[in-house]
Each structure stands twice: as C-alpha cells, then as structure tokens.
C-alpha cells in the first residue's frame, strides 16, 4: 500500500525518470571556421573532411529521436553566422521542426513554393531522409557563402594576422537560441534537453577572456553542458568551459578518425551520460587572462575591489574597470624591482599569487 501515494503517481511527477529518458534533445554545434586555424591543421584534416564528418554526426543526432533538433553556428574570424536554421531561406521554411516560427505558416509556405522545390534536383532526391537533407544542404550552402565572402582583411586584427575566432559570440548566440527554444515551454510540459558542442581549431582566445567566462557561467546556470572537440593545440578557456559545465573535453589525437570520436564520445546525450564513463581531461588549465593586455598569466595582480586581473600594476594608478584609485605608495612598492637583501628574511612583495591573506598587505589599497 505504501506504493500508492499522491506524490509518486501524479503522471507529471511519477514518470519523471521515464520522461527524462524520452525527452528530445537539442544540439547546438559551433564550428570554428577560421581559415588560418584550419590551414594550420592540414594535412591531418581539412575543413571539408571535418564538415563531412560533422554532418554525419548531426544526422546521427537527429536519427536518435524523431523530435531531436539541431542548430549549426559558424564562428568565423570577425562574425558569426547561422548555418542552420537560416531565417527566410527555403530550407528553413520547409523544416518547420527546427525553426522557431509557427509551424502552420511555414508549412503553408512550403506548399506554395513546393513546386519550385520540385524543380530543384537535389531537394527532390529520394535517397535521403528529408530532415537530414534540409540540414545538410543548408549548412553546405551557407558555409560556401561565408567562405566566399571572406577576404584577407577579415583575418587581420589590429593590423596583425591572427587565427582568432569569435567563439564568445557564437557561444552567446547558442545560449540565446537555446533559451528561446527551451524557454518557450510552459511549466507543465516537458523540456528539451539542450547541449552545446564546440569544434575548435584556434589556440589563441585570450582577447575574449571575459565574454567567454560569462558564457560559461551562463551555460552553467542554464544547466547546458558545453562539449569541446579540440583539433590542434589545447585551449585554456575551452578546457575550463567543459569542466565547469560538465561537458566532454576531447583533444583529437588522430583527427582523420574524427567520425569515430564523434560517434563514441559526443553522441550520447545528458540522460545517457549518467550511465557511461565519460572522457574528461585529467588536468585542467585554470589560468586566466589579464584585463589590460589580454595575456594569459600564471601570476597576476588583482584589484581588491572588483577582482579584475592585471599582468602588471596599472600605469595610471587606478583600476581600469572600477576606477578605484590605488594608493601610490603601495603601487610604488609593487613596481620596485626585487632588491637583493643580505639578511635572511626576503622581502619580496611584487610576486603575490592572486588573492592574499587578509592580514597581509593588500596588493592595492584604495585611495581615500
């Protein structure tokens, strides 16, 4: 008789675990399309091969459950771009499942331009499941457009050529997209399980330290894991992203076998991961970037008011973030070169790691 009580038998509550398994999931794939980043990877893997593998991966994700959804966002050198779904495109209109527009409208639109679709040889192809085809063709077309529109000037940043990419922009777009899809569900209805996956080739992201960290914390709050599929050198902040949000971090040792990595490590969704041994990195690089020069620092100076990080004491004697004016005397102390002292007690104030004990002299003292 104990088995029968109100709490466990109300359908919405009692079957929660079962529903959890059945919930559809949303995958937002962020693809780093920085030309220099991919250029550095070849011959091991070209962007073309990687996209082929990723499309099969997205198809597999859609194959797991009829209601699964996917979005693909390109993170380019100086902009981000939705590769799928694309607003206002035929592809988007004929795929009411994955656009946030009202299904009725887009389906009717499909009817009116159904004939033009019929003329299109590829869309008419019966060899592929429609949902797969819509995603694949949209991604390929938009990616072509994106790469054709890229000129040498887009790669330059402040006069220097760098292999950077707008990961922070892509992450915030992804989070906004997830929020729009998941947030639209009422309280009684089941939610969509969302996750983000980043395919990254760039190693230098220091200039985006603050926005990336903000995205990571937002994702953590939304309980959205960020999976990182890393090709090339390890990236500091992305390791932290996977670690903080409970996602998978995997550095591809053999990028040519990408499809197998994707299928094995990245395909299982959140419900299934509970039952699996998930690959994570054993040691995480927790270093931060300074706010003044975007350098990654091992040891830095921290403003005692707003906790901003500096690689060296600010030249104008005030915090660039919160405008706190530091005590000039203390600053002068910090700027002093280490003095070789003959006594046994070394007085080395300049090197202090992050935050000091309260009784010790603070790195900066606010002015009156």
């Amino acid at each position: 008789m104990n088995a029968v009580d109100g709490s466990s038998h109300v359908p919405q509550v009692g079957f929660a675990s079962e529903l959890e398994e059945e919930l559809p999931s949303l995958l937002v794939l962020i693809l780093d399309t920085s030309p220099l980043g991919w250029g550095a990877q070849s011959p091991p893997i070209s962007l073309h091969d990687a996209v082929a593998s990723l499309l099969i991966f997205v198809n597999s994700h859609l194959a797991l459950n009829h209601s699964n959804e996917a979005a693909v966002i390109a993170s380019h050198t100086n902009c981000i771009k939705y590769l799928y779904p694309v607003a206002g495109e035929d592809y988007g209109a004929s795929a009411p499942k994955s656009t946030a527009t009202s299904g009725t409208e887009s389906s009717e639109e499909m009817i009116t331009n159904g004939q033009s679709n019929g003329d299109n040889g590829t869309l008419n192809d019966a060899s592929m499941y429609r949902q797969f085809r819509v995603v694949n063709e949209s991604v390929m077309k938009q990616l072509d457009l994106l790469l054709l529109g890229t000129s040498a000037s887009d790669i330059e940043h402040n006069g220097t050529i760098s292999d950077t990419t707008l990961i922070s922009g892509a992450l915030s777009t992804a989070l906004a997209y997830i929020n729009r899809l998941v947030g639209g569900v009422n309280d009684n209805g089941p939610k969509v399980r969302a996750r983000i996956m980043v395919v990254s080739v760039c190693s230098d992201l220091a200039s985006q330290y603050v926005p990336i960290m903000n995205c990571i914390f937002a994702a953590q709050k939304m309980k959205v894991p960020i999976d990182i599929c890393k090709i090339g050198n390890d990236t500091v902040f992305l390791q932290q992203a996977a670690d903080t949000t409970g996602g998978v971090y995997m550095h591809l040792e053999h990028p040519r076998g990408m499809i197998q990595y994707l299928m094995t490590a990245f395909l299982p969704d959140r419900a299934l991961r509970k039952h699996l041994v998930i690959p994570t990195q054993s040691s995480i690089d927790f270093r931060a970037a300074c706010f003044c020069h975007n350098r990654i620092v091992d040891i830095g100076y921290v403003c005692n008011i707003c906790l901003s990080i500096y690689c060296q004491p600010p030249a104008d004697g005030s915090c660039a973030i919160c405008d706190t004016i530091f005590d000039p005397k203390e600053l002068a102390d910090l700027l002093k070169k280490p003095v070789v002292v003959t006594t046994n007690v070394p007085k080395n104030k300049a090197k202090k790691k992050k935050k000091k004990d309260s009784d010790a002299t603070p790195n900066f003292t606010p002015g009156p």
Binding site: H66, S94, Q115, G118, N124, S127, M128, R133
Partner: protein
Amino acid sequence: MSIPRFRTSINDYLEGLPEPVLIRLYYSPATCLAIFRLLPAMAQLFIMTMLFNDKPLAATDLNDWVQDGSTPKQYEALEKLRGMHLIKESQGTLSLQKTFRAGLRNALTGGDHNNSFGIPCNTEDKHRVDIKFLDEHANNQWELILHFMVGTDTGKVPNNGVLSLLRHSGLMEGSTPSNMRITNAGFQFLLQDVNAQIWTLLLQYLNMSEDLQMDAVEVLHFLFMLGSLELGQDYTLVALSPTQKIMLDDLRDYGIVYQRKSSSRRFYPTRLATTLTSDTGALLTASASMDSAISQKERETGFVILETNFKVYAYTDSPLQIAVLNLFVHLKSRFVNMVAGQISRESVRKALSNGITADQIITYLTVHAHPQMRKSIPLLPPTVVDQIRLWQLEMERMKIVEGYLYSDFSSKNEYDIIAGYAHDLGVMAWEKPNKRMFFVTKEGNQQIVDFVRRKVHGGV
C-alpha cells in the same frame, strides 16, 4: 504513456520475425532508420559506435565503458540487439549485422539508391490539396471508424476492408455491419490516443496481411516509409510494388493517406501517416506542436472537469466521448452541452473487469482535462487518482512472473556469487538467502546458465 506501449508492441512484433525476414527488412535505409529509432538509447549508442568502426568491438570494452551501476541497462540493450539480430557475436567480439550497417550508413550519408524515402511527384497536381484539407480528411475518416465502433448513427458505414479488420482484430464482433458490436478490447482501444490506436490497427493489419499472402516485409517497408514522408507533399505511385498499391487502397480507408480517386497517380500522406514513427506530444514547443496537432486539438478543447469529491463534469455533446466516459463513470444527468456523473467503486471496477487499467483511465482524464483544470498542479486531484489505483490493486492480489528457480547450492559462497550476478543483470524476481534459493525471469535465465557454466564449473 501510450508511447512505450506502442513501442513494445511494434518491437515485439519485429522481434518475433525470423532472422531472414528481418535481414530483408534491413535492405531499406528508411526501415533501418525507423527501427533504429525504436531501440533504447543505450542500444542506439552501441550501434553508432560500431557503425563506422571497421574492426569488431571487444565485448569487454563495453563493460569498461558503461558505469558499474548501469549493467542492467547494458544487458537490456544487448538483449534487444540480439533479439533483432542486429549484432553478430563471435569469440568475445561484437559486430553489426552487415545489411543493417550498410542500410543505416546509407540513411545517414544519403548514399542510398533504393528510393526508400518516397519519390515526390514532379508534375503539378491540378487538384492540389492543402494541409488543412488533409487534416480534415484524416480526421473524418478516423472519426468515422471510431463512431462506428461506439454505434453512433452517422448514416455512414466504413468500407468492408475496415470492417473485416475490426472483426479480425477482435475489437468488434458480429457478421454484418448492422449487428456488429464493440468488444471489451474495443473499449480499451477507444481509451488510447490516436497514434496508439493507429498502431494497434496497423499491427492487426500486418497479422491479417500474412493470411492474405501479402509479404510482411513489403508491408513494413511501406509503413516505415510513410513515417518518413512529408506532410503536404504529393508522392508518385511509380516506385510502389503491387502489394504496396493494394495497401494504399486500404490505408486510404483509414485516412492515413489521401488519394483523390483510386486511379490517381499520386498520393498524399496525412498527418496520421507522418507521425507514425514519431513520439507525438513528446515535445510541446511551438514548432513541434504541429506534429501532434491532432491529439493537440483534443487537448486544447479538453472538456472534462474532475473534482475531489469524485464528481465528473464533461462539456461535450459528442456521442463518442460520452460513450467512452460511460466506460468508467457512472453518468447521472445529461444536458444540452454537458453530462455529469460520478466515479464510484462500482463504475471503476466495471471498467477494470473489462480489462481497462487504472493508468488508462488516469491518462484519459489527464489528456482530456478542461483548460480550467490545467491551472492546478497536480492536474488531477491526487485523492481521486490514488483511489482509482487502489481499486485496481484490490483486483490484483497476485503477480505472475515466468521464470526459473535455482536451488540446492553447495555453498553459501556459490549462492552469493550467482545471486549477485542475477542482481547485477536486474533479472532477479525473488530470493530467499537462508534457504539458498532464488528465482530469475525467463529472459535472464540463459545468462545465468552461461555464467554458472563459466564461473562455477569452469573454475573447478
């Protein structure tokens, strides 16, 4: 809760098929994809891992990969894969069935040339129909069948094909349309949601098709293909086999496809078809609600109010809905636009003895709840829900599990090892450690026997 039920039923049917038939099924990528979607998540993952890996997978690798606490899930997944003949095992390694592997690969990469996903018509239809029309058509056809089952006088009688299917499936009995009567199974059928109802009928259709010398493989290919088609698109008949063209006639009667006339060269799938292999209502976002629009429509126009004092008020004048309510509610008064009644021990027991379960009643009340009810959480008054379940428990004092009894263990240690293994697999049904006896389910027995051979007798 109808989805798991449908899943098990179609799965059971597939698992019952002999291996050569299943392998013929796997020649169609659309079927591979549909079958893949029916599998448990863990099984899907195992398949994906092996799909693009040319080397066979060592069985021990799976043990390392799956968390210790989840062994029953792993076992269940592998059992399912074996049942569907999807994996081949040799010398401790696993590999995918070749045909299935090729089929699923083709489905994912688009390398298929069998046109298993349906060929859209490339000429313009002079009598093009829109989605609204298709929805109405599907709804009318389907309601006609349901109304006929409850005996509403609509002046129309479904076609002979439908009648013989209803008779064959045991949902109705009687020889002529005028004296056909609904059976208990038929009442249970009415309580299911539309998607489950369609599958119930289609599975019966499959059984019947075998008697009619139709090839089950072609029938299944066609059904799974229908599930992957797109609503509002017209498809050509050119690629269909003769069997499938006969099926098309039958499916037209159910409202699953629309054809303007039987000689037409094209057909439109309706929403009933395109949601065949989907989980209707699983996702209630704005975009996906389209999929479940038919069941959704009922949901939006929910009409039942259930009070904590077991009184039921239903704002409906549909004879179909009133007949269904009458199955488990003692109806007392009827007005122009509503009926009122009371759920009592007698009325629920009557339903239970007709084979309707408490879950079915509760699901029905949840799905059809009045918008006014939706404001409260939980939706239904817990007192009523609990009471309905208690009434069911009164009737179920016994639970029958088929299986095997293990006894006469030579030592406590031996008992512990084997009983522990049975626990890990999740197949233990009953145990009595001080008498050194335990009972495992029928499905798990083979695993235990293997284990005993390996560990106990092999070791000694």
